[in-house]
Amino acid sequence: MSLGKTEVEYISRLAQIEVREEDVDGVATKLSNILDLFTQMGAADTQGVEPMAHPLDAVQRFRADVVTEVDQHEKLQAIAPSVTQAHYLVPQVIE
């Protein structure tokens, strides 16, 4: 399977990862090699096999609906790139 520029741009948008114009061909080749590996899966007859999400087929455990976390926003926000008045700062979204 060979990916072209359009597919790389699409994947770049899905993954929110920038691919520079000059890197598109290289990225396309490397991703295509990996997708070629995936085509080997086609050799297996999986009809009727139930997809497996968890090795022990376990289900999600529920916990009591009670507060377990204490407020420690100052500690957690001390490692944030930009914070003001307990809010994370990002570039303006709404004009």
């Binding site: 990862i17 920038e18 590996l37 995936f38 096999v49 997809p51 022990l56 001390a78 990002v90």
Partner: protein
């Protein structure tokens, strides 16, 4: 001191012959002597280690100690450690001071195990060579031209070089066992869910499992006792009674049925590795084991299935790195999308970006069934192969990797070749089974590990098999000449 077993170290600590401060200082001295060249640590924490060692000595003096109290440890830099940089080998987290401890770290701190530092690794645990770290590659102590394996390559190298007596690792597709094999040490990946994932930076959550890296199987058993157990903060933690992983040490292997899959010894396996593995299996036969042939027909489909599923999970897990709440943020973002895209593009390395993109693609509309669902179906078929094999044997033995350690730079441009290096370890992660690597000899003058895979919850049995093997062999006692 660095040649003692954990039990011997503990006896000396408890009898007062040595103190934890002396033992910890001994390892800190070795780290400053050797790590400049080896690059096995991202961060060394001497002050913390010595203050924890002092507290451990007080615990021992007060008679409030356990076997591992006072024994220093190195943590893979994927385990969050409160107040200490936790980089996961990435520029993205180069500025990340973890605000809490991983559950495993909490458990080992409580016992009183001084933290020597954080070990180098493939970025976000995505790799088999520890070359993709933002902090540069770790070298293999046996041969500095070789990789130590990965992703827990730093942890494996510190054990092999005697820079720490114990180290933590994580194994998503082989990341404890393959570096253990490449560095000539012992490492076990427990049953999925046996060790809490809380505070371990997520790569592929349905595979990620932590395990010990040690010199001997006996040391691993003691360490796993301290690491494993139910944790309500991990939604896939297994609710089982506490297991004593040392309980079977010393049992006879008479009558042990060793499954040897014909598929494990096909094309691509280095002939010298094959000789080492076949010789090791013969040794276990001498201990009373009996070889039976088993089959794992879908083994070759495990690698492509894994490289769909793990990147798919990674693409979701790593969406949290957006430059907003923690981690790397690009300079002067123009708008929100620019902030996301540039922070991620500049903060992640090439292999991580590649896996996120592959994962996002595999999950995208139109490809979900062909890739993701198909891979999940194969995952069940691989698991069922093991279930069937274990009807006629107690454990499965074979190689951990098709070769001994390859050279630094040898595979870094060929991802698919690097991926295929994990063909023996990945099926075990798909199935969630426990598996051990014990040193079994050398191929091309580099160490080779014997892979011992067991049914769910058979860790104690696997560790005893490793222990019995280590009673009649001395591969685990050997150290590279320059580090003795």
């Amino acid at each position: 001191m660095h040649n003692l077993t954990i039990k011997q170290m503990s006896e000396k600590l408890h009898s007062g012959e040595i103190t934890s401060v002396q033992l910890t200082q001994h390892y800190l001295d070795r780290i400053s002597q050797y790590d400049g060249d080896l690059n096995a640590f991202v961060t060394v924490t001497p002050e913390l280690a010595l203050s924890m060692a002092e507290a451990a000595d007080q615990k021992i003096a007060a008679g409030d100690a356990e076997l591992l109290t006072g024994i220093p440890i190195a943590h893979k830099d994927i385990f969050c450690t409160d107040g200490i940089k936790t980089s996961c080998g990435s520029k993205m987290l180069d500025n990340f001071i973890a605000p809490y401890d991983a559950h495993v770290v909490t458990l080992l701190k409580k016992i009183g195990m001084p933290i020597l530092g954080k070990t180098n690794m493939d970025e976000f645990a995505m790799g088999s060579s520890s070359e993709s770290s933002y902090y540069g590659p770790t070298k293999n102590p046996w041969d500095h031209k070789a990789v130590p394996g990965g992703s827990s390559g730093g942890s494996a190298a510190v054990i092999a070089a005697g820079l720490a007596p114990l180290a933590t690792g994580t194994d998503t597709g082989g990341s404890v066992r393959q570096p253990a094999s490449f560095c000539g040490i012992t490492g076990i990946k427990p049953t999925y869910g046996a060790v809490s994932r809380f505070g371990i930076i997520a790569y592929a959550s349905s595979f990620d499992q932590a395990g010990p890296l040690t010199r001997s199987a006996e040391d691993s058993a003691w360490m796993l006792n301290a690491m494993a157990g139910f944790d309500e903060r991990d939604s896939t933690s297994l609710e089982r009674e506490k297991t004593d992983y040392t309980a079977e040490l010393g049992q006879s292997l008479k009558g042990l049925k060793i499954g040897v899959p014909a598929e494990y010894f096909g094309a691509g396996l280095d002939p010298e590795v094959e000789t080492v593995i076949r010789t090791a299996i013969t040794e276990v036969e001498k201990l009373g084991g009996e070889v039976v042939e088993v089959h794992l027909p879908n083994k070759d489909l495990a690698v492509p299935a894994y490289y769909v599923l793990a990147p798919a999970e990674a693409s979701a897990n790593l969406s949290r790195y957006d430059g907003v709440r923690f981690g790397y943020r690009c300079d002067q973002p123009q708008d929100l999308e620019d902030l996301y895209k540039r922070s991620r593009s500049e903060g992640f390395g090439e292999e991580v970006k590649r896996r996120i993109m592959v994962g996002a693609y595999a999950l995208s509309a139109g490809y979900y069934d062909a890739y993701y669902v198909k891979a999940q179906q194969l995952r069940r078929m691989v698991r069922d192969d093991f279930t069937k094999a274990f009807e006629s044997c107690d454990v499965i033995m074979g190689p951990v990797a098709p070769t001994s350690a390859f050279n630094i730079g040898e595979k870094s441009d060929d991802q698919v070749s690097m991926y295929l290096n994990d063909l023996y370890t990945i099926p075990v992660n798909l199935a969630g089974l426990p598996a051990l690597s014990v040193p079994a000899g050398f191929a091309n003058n580099r160490p080779v590990g014997l892979h011992i895979v067991g049914p769910y919850f058979s860790e104690a049995k696997l560790l005893n098999i490793g222990h019995q093997f280590q009673q009649i062999t001395d591969w685990h006692k050997q150290m590279p000449a320059q580090y003795q």
